[in-house]
Point group: C2
Chain length 196, copies 2
Amino acid sequence: MAKAVSEKTLSRRVQIVSVATRLFHEKGYNATSMRHLAEQLGMEAASLYNHISGKDALLEQICFDMATHYNAHMEEVETATCTAIERVEKLVRFHIGMMLTHFEEVYVTNRDWKHLKEPLLANFLQQRKAYEKRFSKLVEQAVLAHEIQAVHPHAAVLTILSAVRGIEFWQRNPRNISAEQLEEDMVKILLKGLRK
Amino acid sequence: MAKAVSEKTLSRRVQIVSVATRLFHEKGYNATSMRHLAEQLGMEAASLYNHISGKDALLEQICFDMATHYNAHMEEVETATCTAIERVEKLVRFHIGMMLTHFEEVYVTNRDWKHLKEPLLANFLQQRKAYEKRFSKLVEQAVLAHEIQAVHPHAAVLTILSAVRGIEFWQRNPRNISAEQLEEDMVKILLKGLRK
DNA sequence: ATATTTTACTAACAAGCGTTAGTTTTGCTA
DNA sequence: TAGCAAAACTAACGCTTGTTAGTAAAATAT
């Protein structure tokens, strides 16, 4: 049965991408070798090429999976029936949630997208830019609705997106604060900072 | 005259570190080769070793220069005579200023410190941790003085430090907003977010 | 059970890496 | 101008990199 084979191939591929994500996070894309990756999977480096086309494909998979995930959620938020500032809060909480539940993928994407090869690099950057634009639009609507103070929408988006990235510091020693409190404090600071 | 010679050597060394900083920022530490670095300086790779002990030393110089710079400023803020929240604002503005005026060094340090070799890596992490602790202490004092709302100090520091890192996105296309407005908006959001 | 496809293996490649040794050129000092 | 130290060069080293070719083992389908 062709489907069963493809399923198994897929699951092996997924497994490889998963371990690669962990290693990329630990050492970075360039410092992770195919031999080390293979070792972690209990196989030889050459065997990897039965499942993936090359090292590039691993990074590509990680980065574009993230991009797709982000875009899908943006779609959802844009069509939700709620106030503008609630939309912004939804996005803030989504990004915090992603940092907590998909930490390694997010981290790798944030740091190693630079190593994507053209034309994928251009594609990725364009998607990122478009995403930030849609985010800015929502902030702008909240400003126009007088729900938040008059800040430049793009500045607000930069502040939010990067503040959330800070969870990576927290991930390093998570004993000080619980994930829940961190999320609440962060939302408190960012949302109160924006509100009128 | 021995001193003139040493001065010239030093300036050449500084020049090498400067170009290395740019390349590390563009491509990352591991993806930057000594041959490429040498090429950018109009020399052969082997000649670099008349001025530096190795590739490690370049990253070391960048990261620990930054650490020293940060610690010195922290000292200054701690001994300043002003309210607790003003101290926090000073720190926020300092970090924003560093991102604007020493962008590449800050960027490289933030991203590539992981590639420091032991025992320098441990040293660096310890310094970073200590810095965050001092920062947290100042936030805590502002909380105790009822100058800002009751957030966990460490959460606030994470939010601030990483929000400021977001300027790296802005650096990519700085045409949308001016540096001054970005700084003001960011301070506005973060400080208002903290205040009671 | 046999045939076929999938997945692992060994071996090797060309290229690039950081670095060293030894030598020549450069530029300053006496 | 001779001597000397600094800084450049060429050549090469041992090692690692991503990847390919060819082959054996394992799993699946007929």
